[in-house]
Symmetry: C2
Subunit: 200 residues, 2 copies
Amino acid sequence: MIKVLLAEDQAMVRGALSALLKLESDLDVIGCAADGEEAWQLAQTGKPDVVVTDIEMPKLTGLELAQRVREREPGIKVIILTTFARPGFLRRALDAGVGGYLLKDAPAEQLAEAIRKVHRGGRAIDPQLALEAWSGDDPLNDRERQVLRLAGEGKSAGEIAVQLHLSQGTVRNYLSEAIGKLGVSNRIEAYRLARQKGWL
Amino acid sequence: MIKVLLAEDQAMVRGALSALLKLESDLDVIGCAADGEEAWQLAQTGKPDVVVTDIEMPKLTGLELAQRVREREPGIKVIILTTFARPGFLRRALDAGVGGYLLKDAPAEQLAEAIRKVHRGGRAIDPQLALEAWSGDDPLNDRERQVLRLAGEGKSAGEIAVQLHLSQGTVRNYLSEAIGKLGVSNRIEAYRLARQKGWL
DNA sequence: ACTTGGCCGTGACACCTGTCATCAAGCGGC
DNA sequence: GCCGCTTGATGACAGGTGTCACGGCCAAGT
């Protein structure tokens, strides 16, 4: 009997996934968490074999959760289950030592399969995504990322400068750098591209 | 026995919701569709009592599907099940005559309940969303929406002008109008706000 | 025929953006 | 020490953006 903990912020999806896994006779859903923090609590008390988690969650993201689990509960495996086919996310997930990375686009049967495979010590990485992951590296540095994030929220160079304690000119330099590196022609496109790639 | 058709583009979620509904003894999931077009085909052949559909789907959105169902298969009820708590979406859904509008944030039990209620001829609208829906009207006209959509993709006034066969100055006027109406200070914020409200 | 209102365009202005060359301070490394 | 490197600042410039006033056109209303 494989003990599974489910972390997913959308209640409807959480309940549905739970129902899905309960159909499998060799899986035991020992808990459901609505955010990363709750998942971490339940992981410590419930001692699941595998944690299935979304990435975008309140309080603690799935990636942060994975990292913490590896550091402090290395016996527990983590599988990321997310909407986002972003190479950057997969990269970071692998860095955090996850056992699996599945997309919500994948057929439902794959989830139980992945849980069994990871529990046996294997890895379950979405195949087409695995290819993409090594196709493009994040060219941005920390400052460029920060600046781009704020620019994407509609902030002007001046506002960004205040927030980051830089001069306005420096902010514009970083933005210009980012725009150049990404091969686009303005901050909006730069933001969209970086976001789509999972680089923010 | 209530016959249910499920339309949802993410396979994992589709399968999970199907598993969830199959736990209910009075519900019969007669089909699952991965896009709006497939859902429409299955709705015609399978004659479900209720269609549960996501909004964002390939080929035909949930809103368009709802409209078509009301026009050509008025006996079939539609329930929208979506991530997006956007007043504009709810408004359009109600205009399309849907029987229910649920959020994926809602507890899983509500789905079966909503299906039963709608099948009995009732309505199942997410309560907090119903309030919001009448709180703010879309102040934008068609041109402003078009221009804002393109601006949000990072296009400059010149590029937008070419695409819409307008002059660059006119495009800037529309953008300025939209920015003013939304009470923000640049096109990026205007785009984000309009998008968040479901007005694009 | 006259007015009203929506749609589109123009021109002018201040300000913001994106680019580039350049400079200064700090920080390991050999 | 001197070197190379990084981080941040500065100033200048062309071009884009946001605002505004104004003018023409056309389809209703009256």
